[in-house]
Symmetry: C2
């Protein structure tokens, strides 16, 4: 459970540092965390880390495909280590809860757009918006539209 993370890092061509190990651990115990939440988690485990190290590391790991970044409308970036399993996300418009949801369309699915404009598509990111069991009946007038952090007035 300790060497695991080291191995993962080396296998992906990373140098092994206390910070990276801690971030990866934080990530696995706290899915869909923000950079700040991860930083806090890491500080609890190894004492301190700079914001920059957190962002650098997460950025590199995303680039290498070790982790995934998602950023739904109105949310700050979130990170997770569930990768390559083609799962999607379901978000409650009212309470912002975010849950994983398996892809309905098979295994490497969803990669089927109509006219692809000549693009080479390598990922289909799906976010389902709606209301969670606890939040039904609360909001949602005529047309919910899309607005996490709603307007004034």
């Amino acid at each position: 459970m300790s060497e695991d993370v080291e191995q993962t890092l080396r296998q992906h061509g990373f140098q092994v540092t206390a910070q990276r190990i801690a971030i990866l651990r934080a990530l696995s115990s706290h899915p869909h965390a923000t950079a700040d939440e991860l930083a806090a988690d890491v500080r609890a485990s190894i004492g301190s880390i700079s914001r920059q190290a957190v962002y650098d590391t997460l950025g590199l790991m995303v680039d290498k495909g070790l982790i995934r970044r998602i950023q739904p409308s109105g949310f700050t970036a979130r990170y997770e280590d569930r990768v390559n399993d083609n799962h999607h996300h379901l978000i409650c418009r009212s309470c912002d809860s975010l849950v994983d949801i398996d892809c309905a369309t098979g295994d490497t699915p969803c990669l089927s757009a109509g006219d692809d404009h000549g693009f080479v598509i390598d990922e289909a990111e799906v976010i389902y918006w709606g209301y969670c069991p606890a939040c039904r009946g609360k909001a949602a007038p005529a047309k919910p539209g899309s607005s996490p952090k709603s307007s004034t007035t």
Copy 2:
């Protein structure tokens, strides 16, 4: 072409103001624009507008379902008036170009997740990531992962 916008506003329960008309016009002539771009556009047409008015108006219109906000990872929020036609988006990881793409799954499609965790889903937002015709061969090593504004080093 002028009263149109007024009508649309009233039909959706908005008071009609110069700012709102201008924003709606800007929007229709400039799809996927950012708040700032819209502000600039509006200033060109009616002289001036406050940042707050732009954000307030866009927020309200999104809430009422008159327009749509999208915010792909690494991008600032973008707005569009194509709404209720269930179209999706295709983004080039290299040059950030963003194009509309019709949904392959039918008409009110995509609203089919596996286990929906008891949520009432009202929208499935899909973003296809890849490389546009002009950008192929440029980047994309082993696993593209996902990273619009990449990392340092």
